[in-house]
């Protein structure tokens, strides 16, 4: 069988209708720039984040054990007594008389026998209020301490549990106090019959002594009457606090898990950043070199004029916090997150955001001391300029149809933006780079105060989209997607597209293209 050589395929058609009427407002744009690979980012970043998450504030924020002193039963009981004596029914007049003692003794007996339910209720409420108030303040002090030092919660909890276990309500009051007070009251009642028998001064002295004794017994009787309420209220508060403490143990455990997760996520985000940096080798960036952990730290210490790592971290921590709060605001995390402690903000933000903020922060510091221009020189200036120009070549393909003989007037714009030189040596290197770009035909070379990298921009404009070489392969995908029920079009733009479906007029081009190639 004779095999015939296939005829060379003629040049393909333009794969779009109406190209002669299309406007030449399209352009391809491309940018290339220099970059550093920050291999030291993860080690330094992990240290910094660990400082924020774990150690931050733990040394200073500890619960003051004296707060427990206010929860001691005798202290509370004394406070309860003061509170109860403020009740009008129970208040003794400043100038105590035998009648007043007598009246209070009757009241005390009635209370003791449960015949004054309303007053009993008031007494009970007043005693509970004192205990609850102390319990509330104790819990608040603990919350603050736990929030300030979450990694130390267990330690704080252990201290408190031990102290609480050693503390008991003990004997509250004397069960004979009411009987003794009643007896004092009766003695006072019987005193007037001795008035005639005794000298006036002796009588007055005995009366004063009896009144004093009755007053003392009154307080003791009082304590006995509230003892049950007090015991229950104090024990309730202690139990509530113990329950709270157990809850905090769980919280602390959850916090530690969260920190662990956050650190792991941070590591993964660093890995992703590294992979992205490695991928840049094939992208539009020219990597000038790696900045190791050691170089990064020494460059930052020099830039920040920090005398030690601790000083460096303090400064970085402050700037990172500022940067992350701005990011949180942009992410719409709201004012609550803005006001929350830095640690909580770090836990709330995605790890990629933290890595990115950290990268920006470190890069801005490094670029001021780790000279870009010196790195360029080490890389090779001619090689650098050549690679930047190559990588800035546009991503467009026209098969030669962007030519004046086809009616197209192509316009090309190139811009080179260089960062400002920091040292006399930088000035020299920068001048060489500028001249190399000019020699290569890039005349718009300017210094940009804001730039941290050398940036080459290229705009290749003035052609209709219909002549772009990618249209053929896109049309083929368009044809295939018609078989899978896709809806590529907006409704009402193409007259032959039914409700967004493929346009038969465009699908017709597929056959035409094949016929043209045959």
């Amino acid at each position: 069988m004779t095999q015939t050589q296939p005829e060379p395929a003629p040049s393909g058609m333009v794969y779009m209708w109406g190209v002669p009427d299309q406007h030449c407002c399209h352009g391809y744009a491309m940018v290339s720039q220099t970059a550093f690979e920050m291999s030291g980012l993860d080690a330094l970043g992990r240290d910094l984040v660990a400082t924020v998450l774990v150690r931050d504030g733990d040394d200073t924020a500890r619960i003051d054990p004296r707060i427990l002193g206010e929860f001691q039963p005798p202290v509370l009981l004394e406070r309860a007594k003061t509170g109860l004596q403020a009740l009008p029914d129970l208040r003794l007049p400043a100038d105590v008389t035998a009648e007043a003692i007598h009246k209070q003794a009757d009241l005390m007996k009635a209370l003791n026998a449960g015949r004054k339910p309303e007053l009993t209720e008031q007494v009970s409420r007043a005693v509970s209020a004192v205990c609850q108030d102390a319990g509330y303040r104790l819990r608040r002090a603990f919350d603050t301490a736990a929030d300030g030092a979450p990694s130390k919660v267990d330690e704080v909890v252990d201290e408190l549990v031990k102290a609480l276990d050693q503390m008991g309500v003990g004997d509250v009051g004397d069960d004979q106090a009411v009987a003794r007070f009643t007896r004092r009251s009766e003695q006072l009642d019987g005193l007037p019959r001795w008035r005639q028998e005794l000298p006036e001064t002796t009588f007055k002295s005995i009366e004063r002594q009896l009144l004093q004794n009755a007053q003392n017994e009154y307080h003791l009787a009082f304590v006995w009457i509230v003892s049950d309420d007090f015991r229950h209220a104090w024990q309730d508060e202690r139990d509530a606090f113990r329950a709270r403490i157990d809850h905090f143990r769980e919280d602390a455990q959850a916090f530690r898990a969260k920190v662990r997760r956050c650190t792991e996520e941070f590591d993964r985000a660093c890995q992703r950043a590294k992979q992205r940096a490695a991928a840049l080798r094939s992208g539009n960036k020219v990597l000038l070199g790696e900045v190791s952990d050691e170089q990064l730290r020494s460059a930052l210490m020099e830039h920040r004029k920090a005398g030690s790592q601790v000083e460096l971290f303090e400064g970085l921590r402050y700037d990172l916090e500022t940067g992350l709060r701005e990011r949180a605001l942009r992410r719409g995390l709201g004012t609550e997150t803005q006001q929350s402690p830095f640690r909580r903000l770090v836990l709330a933000l995605p790890a990629d955001d933290i890595v990115e903020a950290l990268r920006d922060l470190l890069l801005s510091g490094v670029s001021k001391t780790y000279s870009l221009y010196e790195a360029c020189q080490s890389y090779g200036l001619q090689r650098l300029v050549f690679e930047l120009i190559q990588r800035s070549r546009v991503t467009s393909w026209f098969g030669g149809r962007d030519d004046p003989r086809f009616g197209i007037t192509r316009c090309e714009f190139e811009m080179v933006r260089l960062p400002a030189a920091a040292t006399p040596k930088d000035v020299e290197i920068k001048e060489i780079i500028e001249s190399l770009f000019r020699e290569a035909g890039f005349h718009d070379v300017r210094t940009s105060g804001h730039s941290r990298s050398i940036c080459v921009l290229k705009f290749h404009t003035g052609w209709p989209i219909g002549i772009e070489g990618g249209n053929q392969v896109l049309l083929e995908a368009y044809g295939r997607s018609a078989l899978t029920g896709h809806l590529p079009h907006l409704i009402g733009i193409l007259s032959d597209s039914q409700a967004g479906r493929h346009a038969p007029g465009i699908l017709r081009l597929l056959g035409a293209g094949e016929a043209n190639h045959k």
Partner: protein, 326 residues
């Protein structure tokens, strides 16, 4: 009233100065590109006025921008639309009738998922809010200084469901010379310039897909949106400049991921804005002349290779002038 010489000079000074830039982030890649531009802007300590406005069918991350229009489809809105489609626009009617599967309640509010007509439905339902959002953004720019011009710059991808649709819907509904008077209500009519766009030809996005079908959907969206843009241009509605960023060049630069393309697209847009005066002065000498007078004159167009009776209406100017449905 006659202007004094100083007033005329001041006016000219304002016109020569940089315009206020209204950066519209359309869709997911548009948002990522705009964030890259914002990073540049912040690093450069904001040398010009730039207001960012995000429009998306996926509400995630909208709070990051100066202002945002969330056009995610809600169940309530879709339920109301299904109950009486005749009360809504043509896209709503067509989707309810022909593609009800796109409106399943479980998939709503999570982006357009490469379905461009779904964005059009969301657009029709949110039209009033979009106009208000755009108008508010224009006012926000004016409050930051005297500007003779506001230059809209749209950042989007041309392969997804939202950005590629919004690119054309924005142009047709709000930013073309006939319609933008709604936007500049009570303000100088020519305040808002013809928009520019920085678009990503979504090859990277397509290549990241595992499924061949999804890849084809993205690439076919890219082709369809190119075609629709071209049709809009022929009908007289066009972007001032539309800059494409592809997958890579022939010198070894290949964007490895959609994130990298978005970062480069944002950087390009920002540098273009920062060098706007310089670009413009060179463009009016050469590019604008070419854009208005040049037309492709090659002989290998479909019109010259396919019999005329097989041409679709949009193949000839006569068919186009008759508009859709001719």
């Amino acid at each position: 009233m006659e202007c004094t010489l100083q007033e005329k000079e001041a006016q000219r000074g304002a016109e020569d100065a940089l315009p206020g830039f209204l950066v519209i982030a359309a869709g997911g890649a548009g948002k990522a590109s705009t964030l890259s531009a914002v990073r540049q802007h912040q690093a450069a300590e904001a040398p010009f006025v730039m207001h960012t406005l995000a429009i998306d069918t996926d509400p995630e991350g909208l709070g990051t921008f100066d202002s945002a229009i969330n056009i995610a489809l809600s169940r309530e809105a879709v339920s109301a639309m299904k109950s009486d489609p005749q009360r809504y626009g043509p896209a709503c009617q067509a989707v309810v009738r022909h593609h009800p599967h796109l409106l399943e309640s479980e998939t709503l509010g999570r982006g357009a998922r490469t379905h461009r007509p779904l964005t059009q439905v969301a657009w029709e339902l949110s039209e009033a809010r979009i106009l208000e959002g755009l108008r508010a953004a224009v006012h926000a720019i004016l409050k930051r200084g005297p500007f003779a011009r506001i230059q809209p710059v749209v950042l989007a991808s041309m392969g997804g469901g939202t950005g590629s649709a919004a690119l054309i819907l924005l142009l047709n509904d709000f930013l073309n010379p006939q319609r933008k008077s709604h936007l500049t209500l009570g303000l100088p009519p020519d305040l808002v310039a013809i928009p520019a766009a920085f678009v990503i030809d979504a090859y990277s996005h397509a290549l990241q897909q595992r499924s061949g079908a999804t890849r084809d959907w993205i690439l076919s969206n890219l082709y369809a949106s190119r075609f629709e843009l071209a049709l809009c241009e022929v009908r007289g509605t066009r972007y001032q400049y539309i800059f494409h960023l592809g997958l890579g060049n022939d010198a070894g630069a290949v964007f490895p991921s959609i994130e990298e393309v978005c970062e480069a697209n944002g950087l390009l847009a920002w540098e273009w804005m920062a060098n706007f005066a310089h670009f413009k002065s060179r463009a009016v000498d050469s590019l604008h002349f070419a854009m208005t007078s040049a037309h492709f004159r090659g002989g290998n167009t479909p019109e010259s290779l396919i019999p005329k009776d097989e041409w679709p209406p949009y193949a000839s100017r006569e068919g186009l002038d008759a508009g859709p449905g001719a």
